[in-house]
Symmetry: C2
Amino acid sequence: MEKEKVDKKDHILDVAERVFAEQGYDGASTRMISGEAGVNMAMLNYYFGSKEGVFLAIFERRISAFQATLLGIGNDEDLDAWGKLAQFVDRYLDKVINNNCFHIMLNREISKSKKTDLTDKITSIVMKNVYVFQDIIEDGIKSGAFNKDADKELLVATMFGTKNYIVNTPHISSAILGHDVMDLKTQEEIIKPRLKKYMKTLLKAYLTHENDNK
Amino acid sequence: MEKEKVDKKDHILDVAERVFAEQGYDGASTRMISGEAGVNMAMLNYYFGSKEGVFLAIFERRISAFQATLLGIGNDEDLDAWGKLAQFVDRYLDKVINNNCFHIMLNREISKSKKTDLTDKITSIVMKNVYVFQDIIEDGIKSGAFNKDADKELLVATMFGTKNYIVNTPHISSAILGHDVMDLKTQEEIIKPRLKKYMKTLLKAYLTHENDNK
DNA sequence: CAAAATTAATCAAGCGATTGATTAATGTAG
DNA sequence: CTACATTAATCAATCGCTTGATTAATTTTG
């Protein structure tokens, strides 16, 4: 029973994550979520206290897995700057592309220009990823492996922005790539390897190119 | 009177655009918008028919200006591939960074995975920008100016994704860059020139780098 | 039986939209 | 120019509906 309770809560969160991604936080109603999850509406409040509680529970579930992934990336002292960068790209994209519903949700919330408790919380989480990436770039620049004129702040925007563009605007990116980026098999066999290779090539090109106008 | 009517409608759309960007479509209420615009709630329906009418009016206003900008970009036959690319970057970023409220709104709508009339409409608009950019890249590859192994589809994701990251997640990008990216003066004096220079350097590096693993 | 889980019924609040009445601006006839 | 008629703009009040949340009753479980 304890086990099944956890499963049922997990099932609710799975459904809620999808519905929030489809409809947005405000657009998704508790009736929608409970209806699609096949549970009574009151169960949401019984389990999670409130609609916002459901929303936060989704984040906490994903984030704990997320933080674990981050540890170890960029801290492997056996790797040089290029090795760390390559590993970050591979592991980050691996982790992130499959959880597309969650990341669509996350980015929609974070794009609200009004600051709230929720946007602050999300911001601090996202910033942790940013710092890991930025540290790798900084170390590479210091060691001389990367171009010292590189704009490491905007390179962050490119790293995460490119990924977001693929994941968050599926209608657009599917049209551009000629594949359904929402399809799990496509993600695994086509999107992931292609994006990994591209990102590494792009970063390498930028971080090693000869500066011609300086 | 006719002039002032247009001004008032424009004022309502200005406010609505900001509130929609701040709160999302569902999060923004007609009472909020009319309240902040200093007009009676019924005026929204009087002028625009409905809440959705207000939303669509915002799009139509921006899009007509948008389409005009697109004409001429990438069609200047006096320029070589690099010249076209540089011009696209400069003019696109100029046009797009100031309308940040609108683009936040647009991207939030387009990130909804459920297809609707609105997402279809927005998708086709965005794709026009994409095609202009992609054509420039393709021509450059054909003429031999650009690396023939370049992934032109994912380069699209980088071009627009990088911009989106800066514009759509202002809390994040402000923290990264150390400036308030929502501030108009900052946009003009710091963000725009820096992003323009960065984008061009990045594209050039990628499109000219020597392929080392092929 | 007692505790936990689940349900249907219900609540106040907020939503978008509509209404009829009122005011302001404009046009028209004498 | 003035008095009347017409249109546009604005308002407060209110409609029906959906929302998130709570309640009390019922079922399930250990």
